[in-house]
Amino acid sequence: MGVGPHAYKEMPALELDRVCRDFVTPAGRTYRAIEDISLAVEAGAFVAIVGPSGCGKSTLLNVAAGLLPPSSGRVRVDGVDLVGLNRRATYMFQQDALLPWKTVRDNVALGLTLAGVARAESHARADAWLARVGLTAFTAHYPAQLSGGMRKRVTMAQNWIIDRGLMLMDEPFSALDVHTRQRMESELLALWDEATAELAENAENNHALRAQRAPRFKRTVLFVTHDLEEAIALADEVVVLSAGPASRIVARHPVTLDRPRDLMELRTTTAFVDLYRALWAVLREEVVKSQRHA
């Protein structure tokens, strides 16, 4: 499982091909949320999606996760047509998704438990992740006993403990205060930079490939945010969606800032500010449009 040998070929980790998605409104009419979205995310890329509220960002991620079938168009994961759930992806939902009846530790260990990992090991690994998100003191708490930001951090640990090639994230940091947020962003970039253990294993079986590509492998991230600054600070490419209905891609902009990035300082550099100006000009128009509709 995980990423598999596909990642070694020149093949997008995720490919949306003219994807549309319709909903039926309560009034019985058809509402087209996203229209004709074609987007290829290269393996190892960090792509951020921005757009006005309600334009269809979550819908797009749901389609990529295999939770919503597209009304038309196709989804390919590592070159293979997606049928059912996307087993190569983790998905951090915009809403609270922790199980309220499990402790923080059991929530984080859940992915391992489901995969049949022994309790002692899954707990040890969960504790290590909880330390990484700064929640060691809360392992025995229930989600209802945590603040909203803490719950988000638990969700992160819950997702990151299972190692999959593609990470779908829906506004994961919007509920956090500025400082926690910056810390979690750095943590995300660090995680993304790491080579996966699984991939190293795959490479064992193919020495030629190991020499060529394995060390450069990164996880692939599709990151939804309403915060343009965050999008630029983290991503290799920023995709701007238009205001709904029938939201389309209105701009794709590469972010060429050097890595590793220092998130504390980045936002004041001229390169960053220039990028921000260029993208904001596009996004602003869509935000204004969406507000006019509402």
């Binding site: 759930l85 983790t90 998905y91 009846w101 859940l110 229930y142 209802a144």
Partner: protein
């Protein structure tokens, strides 16, 4: 440095004080509730006793608390109460377990397969509408005078409560939780175990008190209508001889047993739903 340390110590003392105070306050509140409960009971009994003593009520029709207490004491002392009580408890418990098992299982099936739910919906409603007293003679005919006719009656009452609350609980499970657990790799069975069952448990437990009361009603009504043992039998025997004291004594024992068992269920529920305690 030292100053800081002192400061935080004072701070923690203060908060400890406050939580201590809160604990005391809640303990005080609980004690005052119990005091009021006792007071209400004592006043009601005294009023009853007084009205009978003043000849405003006829003891032939309503007996009197002192007689009822004496009767219960005799039953306990002579040991005649226990066999009846044990039979009633046995029937109630069996009815509760069987009814809950059937109700929960079927509730799950219905919630997970909309087609089944739609097809059987009118039949479930029809069955639920049958007055149970009508069924009792039938059950006597089918299952005999022993405990099983009473268990069957209890089952028909418990089943529907459990069925509807399980159905509701499973249907009520949050879609985001389901999606999240599926993305984390859950199979259909794991989804049931980690999301649907715990979600339904909240509903199932909140209906456990009702089910328990129903189980006892089923057992006692069954005994009342035809048996040779149990509290229902005791009450019907007393009624047959116009022994109102015996009837009230039987009802009192029934009431006390329900209160005690209910308290135990509350304990169990609080432990099983402990993750909910701090939710507002």
């Amino acid at each position: 440095m030292r100053k800081n340390g002192e400061k935080s110590e004072v701070g923690s003392l203060k908060s400890a004080d406050r939580s201590d105070f809160r604990l005391q306050a809640s303990r005080f509140r609980r004690a005052s509730v119990v005091a009021w409960q006792i007071l209400v009971g004592v006043v009601a009994l005294a009023l009853w006793q007084g009205l009978v003593s003043l000849k405003l009520l006829d003891p032939f029709f309503v007996s009197r608390p002192s007689d009822i207490a004496r009767r219960i004491a005799t039953w306990i002392a002579s040991g005649t109460l226990w066999p009846h009580l044990i039979v009633t408890l046995e029937e109630s418990l069996l009815g509760l377990v069987v009814g809950a098992a059937l109700g929960i299982a079927l509730g799950f099936v219905f919630a997970r397969s909309p087609m089944v739910a739609r097809v059987f919906d009118p039949y479930i409603k029809m069955l639920n509408a049958i007055p149970r007293v009508v069924l009792a003679p039938l059950f006597l005919l089918w299952f005999g005078l022993g405990i099983w006719s009473k268990v069957a009656l209890a089952v028909t009452l418990v089943f529907f409560v459990m069925f509807f609350s399980t159905y509701q609980g499973v249907r009520d499970a949050s879609q985001v939780l389901i999606d999240n657990v599926r993305m984390l790799g859950a199979t259909e069975r794991q989804l049931v175990r980690h999301v649907l069952v715990p979600s339904a448990l909240t509903w199932i437990f909140s209906s456990l008190h009702t089910s328990l009361g129903f189980a006892m009603v089923g057992a006692v009504v069954g005994e009342y209508l035809g048996s040779t043992r149990g509290l229902g039998y005791v009450i019907s025997q007393a009624e047959g001889t116009f022994d109102t004291t015996g009837v009230f004594a039987g009802m009192t024992i029934l009431g006390v047993v329900v209160v005690i068992v209910s308290a135990a269920v509350t304990r169990l529920e609080r432990w099983l739903l402990r993750w909910k305690r701090d939710e507002r």
